[in-house]
Subunit: 184 residues, 2 copies
């Protein structure tokens, strides 16, 4: 149901917006839409300027439920789960506030977000945000990821994302981690 071709466990569900004279209303998420995914326990709101890139990150435990509310985001996705039929697959999905959709990302699928002209998104997390223990990162432009970002200039990164290591180093760090689906 709304599965994203090429990466098992990731779905992209188009959302219906209801515009009227006053503005607009969009149902962003209903638990009944989530299938096997655990329900969100937390919600975050994120604003990004133009040419900002967040990631690439991967989680051991939590699922993400993400909606771009304004502007545009290119979401890079890479399946790192050894047991997955789509392991190693990478693709970039373009999301926009003008045609809203709910993106569901399971643990073990690495993701990065690029904002060509800035944007706003909200996301639910199935477990509390825990960047120390449940977020691993690597360089967004490691060719081993297979993500063809096609950027014409260096994006703005956080110091943490800027100094991140390679995909291979990230996978090594994940190997010993309880619950890591890549080690199964």
């Amino acid at each position: 149901m709304h599965a994203l071709p090429g990466i098992e466990g990731v779905s992209l569900r188009p959302l219906a917006s209801h515009p009227d004279e006053r503005g607009e209303l969009t149902e962003v998420l209903r638990l009944a839409w989530l299938g096997e995914a655990p329900p969100p326990r937390q919600w975050n709101y994120v604003r990004s300027g133009a040419n900002v890139l967040r990631g690439v990150h991967v989680h051991v435990t939590h699922w993400d439920f993400l909606v771009v509310l304004e502007g545009e985001a290119w979401i890079g996705l890479v399946d790192l789960r050894r047991g997955s039929k789509t392991c190693g697959n990478a693709r970039i999905v373009r999301m926009s506030g003008d045609a809203k959709a709910l993106l569901t990302v399971c643990p073990g699928v690495a993701h990065g977000f690029y904002f060509p002209r800035g944007g706003v998104f909200t996301y639910g997390l199935s477990h509390y945000w825990d960047p120390e223990n449940d977020e691993f990162g690597c360089r967004w432009d490691d060719p081993a990821l297979g993500l063809a970002w096609g950027l014409e200039r260096a994006p703005l990164l956080s110091p943490r994302d800027e100094s991140a290591g390679s995909l291979a180093e990230m996978l090594t760090a994940l190997e010993g981690k309880a619950g890591w689906c890549g080690s199964g």
Copy 2:
């Protein structure tokens, strides 16, 4: 904990925003913050133009968990629960995207939203949105509500809100409703 003075069962929790060079991140809701309130099952996103007013509405079943993300909203709140210590109390809370906060509203507390210059909010609902069965409305400017909106011009309403009846009529409609906390 973060109780809103004057209306029992309503809380207003200030949220910490984390700005950096890239933009901003705000944790909007964690289930652990909700206390006795049931967890959200659904999330909606709403954009409103300047001088729009939504409401006044009251729910029999669902709680609302609301955050203003951008712009400003004046939230009118009226306690209609017969068994409540603050029954009959009314107040207007100003919320802004510049100082985000999580407003939790229990069933039986009527609410309306006014957007002086437009704004965006997101809200969680503890039960699926069901405007036919779980949303009752009355005129936003019924003096019996006790809400001193102080508007200088007529606000833009939906046809439904425009043609809504009095508070007394709404309370009569609610009387027969299973679960209505005003009838206890």
